[in-house]
């Protein structure tokens, strides 16, 4: 096995494979930066180019591209408050807030280094887990996946504010997100729900215009209202100077970064949950890591831990998602489903053979993820000073360009004008939510998990009746949900409630 491990490394470093991987990394770098251009779409677009490649070259190209998309997606999220990728939206909450405080360099340093740590943890998990992951995946059937969705929403809702009132709004936002996920054809009977006779809505609301609208519009409104640059009236100075501080933050909160990486890996392993979920659970975990309510209050205003958690999770989930894809041919996300197509194009059947006949290829994938991320992070850190200076460009110059990118990003998800209307509606909703103190993260998680939860709920009741509630893992998850809801209230009570002046 050790032989295959090192052989995989040598294969990736072969000049031809390495150059092809670099090309993939270059493409992934830009795809991640541009809002709306998704990693999955680009993977699909690049599939025809792998016909003439060897399997090692093909996966170096595709994985090299895909594994860096979330890393550079964080850069756009931090600098402009527009999610570069659907999987990097959670980074906006604290990353962009830091950019507004003139700490863009520090936020970028933290995002990049935590991404690297996350990618390494994900790759390490992939290398270690393949032989032992089978029982874990088989333990999680539809009832467990449904309960996991419930835990996720309860977790983020209960941690998205201070006090009982904030918790109420957190749950309201989570439920609203779940309701939005119900738009479109019912997956069981094909009945139209909330489609208002619009063909566009038959397939449900697309995540990209929803996310871009929800996050980009309120940030643009704030930028326009302030009438300054993103970093405000702060002296231009050397905004990238804090980058090293951000790198150090990753190691200062090393265990948090590792824990969030493990959260990402675990969610990546579970088929169907995807990267959109991992980042928010990791964000919730970062908030939970705050010692008291005063410290927790700093989240959303530029706490570096709010950058480290999602940054690590959205990269580590790639390694996790590869595990069921390689081991059983069960893709953990839409991107992995496309990657599964690449296996077939190369004439390889995922499954036990990947641990035997193609073990070297499997390890070459692990190395590709590691090397691609190291190269991207090094290149990004090198460019960081220049990138951070973008936050000093005056708002009147940035607004039309960012708005253009946001519109086009929303449009490219379905190439439909309906996407633009959804983008605007959710932009307005995001603005109102902020004005009214409703957190946006539970809404996004509810929206992402809605269909997954409904499908698994339906399968559970059809297959097991009400007996699924008595399955051991389900019962544990019910208990976890109760703890997740009750614990923040108990902690708050112990601390004597939120403090400060009346707002």
């Amino acid at each position: 096995m050790l032989d295959a491990f090192f052989q995989g490394f040598v294969l990736v470093l072969h000049w031809q494979t390495f150059l092809i991987m670099l090309l993939g990394v270059f493409l992934g770098f830009w795809v991640g930066l541009l809002p709306g251009l998704g990693g999955s779409t680009t993977l699909a677009l690049m599939l025809p180019f792998i016909y003439k490649m060897t399997p090692v070259e093909a996966f170096a190209f595709l994985l090299g591209m895909h594994s860096v998309v979330s890393t550079t997606g964080d850069i756009t999220s931090v600098l402009f408050g527009v999610p570069g990728e659907g999987t990097s939206a959670a980074t906006i909450l604290d990353g962009h807030a830091m950019a507004k405080k003139g700490e863009a360099g520090r936020a970028l340093g933290a995002a990049l280094m935590s991404s690297l740590v996350g990618a390494l943890v994900g790759a390490f998990a992939l290398a270690l887990a393949i032989p032992v992951v089978r029982p874990l995946v088989l333990t999680f059937g539809a009832p467990e996946l449904f309960m996991l969705a419930v835990v996720g929403i309860a977790f983020i809702s209960s941690l998205s504010g201070q006090g009982g009132r904030a918790m109420l709004r957190g749950f309201l936002a989570g439920l609203l997100g779940l309701l939005f996920a119900m738009v479109g054809q019912d997956p069981q009977a094909g009945v139209q729900r909330f489609t208002f006779s619009q063909l566009y809505l038959w397939g449900g609301l697309d995540l990209v215009p929803v996310l871009v609208g929800l996050f980009a519009i309120p940030e643009l409104v704030d930028l326009a209202v302030r009438g300054t640059s993103i970093a405000g009236e702060l002296p231009a100075g050397n905004l990238g100077r804090g980058a090293w501080e951000g790198v150090k933050d990753t190691f200062r909160h090393f265990w948090l970064t590792i824990r969030c990486s493990l959260v990402g890996t675990f969610i990546g392993i579970l088929p169907g949950l995807g990267g959109g979920v991992a980042q928010w659970i990791a964000y919730g975990h970062s908030v939970q890591a705050a010692r008291d309510s005063t410290e927790r209050e700093g989240f959303g205003k530029g706490d570096v831990r709010g950058v480290l958690g999602p940054g690590a999770a959205n990269n580590s989930k790639e390694g996790g998602a590869l595990i069921p894809t390689i081991a059983f041919g069960v893709p953990g996300s839409s991107a992995m489903a496309i990657l599964l197509g690449a296996f077939y194009l190369q004439g390889i059947m995922p499954g036990p053979e990947m641990l035997d006949k193609y073990l070297t290829l499997t390890f070459s994938m692990v190395w590709t993820m590691v090397i691609a991320n190291v190269i991207t992070v090094a290149a990004s850190l090198f460019l960081l000073n220049q990138l951070a200076k973008l936050t000093t460009v005056r708002g009147s110059l940035l607004i039309p360009l960012v708005l253009f990118l946001a519109f086009i990003g929303a449009y490219t998800s379905n190439n439909s004008l309906g996407d633009l209307i959804v983008f605007l509606c959710f932009g307005l909703l995001g603005y109102l939510m902020i004005r009214c103190g409703w957190p946006r993260s539970p809404l996004v998680l509810g929206f992402v998990l809605g269909k997954i939860a409904e499908n698994n709920f339906y399968i559970s009741t059809t297959r097991y009746g009400s007996a699924w509630l008595l399955r051991p893992v389900v019962m544990i998850l019910v208990l976890v949900t109760a703890v997740v809801v009750v614990y923040p209230l108990l902690r708050l009570r112990r601390e004597g409630g939120p403090s400060g002046d009346v707002t």
């Binding site: 909450l93 998205s160 504010g161 201070q162 006090g163 009982g164 009132r165 904030a166 109420l168 709004r169 749950f171 309201l172 439920l175 609203l176 309701l179 119900m182 019912d186 009945v191 909330f194 643009l220 409104v221 704030d222 209202v225 302030r226 009438g227 908030v287 309510s293 927790r296 209050e297 959303g300 009147s396 110059l397 607004i399 039309p400 360009l401 708005l403 253009f404 519109f407 086009i408 449009y411 490219t412 190439n415 004008l417 633009l420 605007l424 109102l432 902020i434 004005r435 009214c436 103190g437 409703w438 957190p439 993260s441 939860a453 709920f457 409630g497 403090s499 002046d501 009346v502 707002t503």
Partner: protein, 161 residues
């Protein structure tokens, strides 16, 4: 404080109406189709009503109700902030109208030009440079390279018919 208070109330009311509509619409669906929306809409409606009542009768103490999310700036005078908010939303809606009317390829450079010149009051040189850049970026990346099918504007339909 008062306007925020009333906005919170009306926002909760709007969500409650949405939840109420979801429950009403689910009455016309088969049980299996309606089950999950009902499971969501019912607690949503109840919690919205609680939030509405709380908005009306309970003053929020300290940082209670404070979301883990970013907050709009409070450094700008409310009247100016309101004016600028209306302006940016108008520009955004105007951009959408332009896209629908003349299509992306014309709407993008036209919007960038108009915003920079009218709202930003930028110099001619910079305005033209950024307009050209936005056009090149859109045509080069999204049209020539990625072949994204941009819908033609309604005006071009009218023109050709």
């Amino acid at each position: 404080m008062k306007s925020t208070f009333s906005l919170r109330f009306f926002f909760s009311l709007a969500v409650a109406i949405m939840a109420g509509y979801a429950l009403y619409a689910s009455l016309h669906w088969p049980f299996k189709t309606a089950l999950f929306p009902r499971v969501i809409a019912f607690p949503l409606l109840v919690l919205c009503v609680i939030e509405m009542v709380l908005s009306l009768v309970v003053a929020e103490k300290g940082r209670e109700g404070h979301a883990v999310d970013f907050e709009m700036t409070t450094d700008v005078e409310p009247q100016i902030a309101r004016k600028r908010t209306v302006a940016i939303f108008s520009w955004t809606i105007g951009f959408l109208a332009l896209i629908v009317g003349v299509g992306f390829p014309i709407a993008v450079p036209l919007f960038v030009f108009l915003y920079l010149k009218v709202a930003g009051k930028e110099r001619w040189g910079l305005t033209l440079l950024l307009t050209a850049f936005s056009w090149l970026f859109m045509e080069g990346l999204f049209d020539w390279l990625l072949h994204i099918p941009f819908a033609a504007g309604w005006l071009s339909f009218l023109w050709s018919s």
